[in-house]
Symmetry: C2
Subunit: 73 residues, 2 copies
Amino acid sequence: MIEPQLAVAPMHRLCKKAGAERVSEAAAKELGKTLEEIGIKIAKVALDYAMYAGRKTIKTEDIEIATRKVMEE
Amino acid sequence: MIEPQLAVAPMHRLCKKAGAERVSEAAAKELGKTLEEIGIKIAKVALDYAMYAGRKTIKTEDIEIATRKVMEE
């Protein structure tokens, strides 16, 4: 079984920040799962960029360009 | 000051899952900030759908359709 990396409580807080009064527990879990998938996708692209630049360490600039690529797709 | 909702440690774990050996602290924070922004965007769209359906509670189906809309843009 895959252990989720993102806790449910912060997902509830994100929804409150978005203006929601109430969020079902299942919906909060779904949001966590979704953000985890997007996060891994961004990190994979960021790693490609880091390696292309001759580094083994992901830096902020790699995350920035990877985010643009993933969100533009 | 805006308090970040997503902790840095899970961001490091997401990057490891993506195959990265090392991630700078600043890059992990950047990934957290990015995912928080994406999460709020998804939650806002989900709330619109919930309200359109006559509900005040965000449900799983709202998160699912909102994710598709946000990621397609």
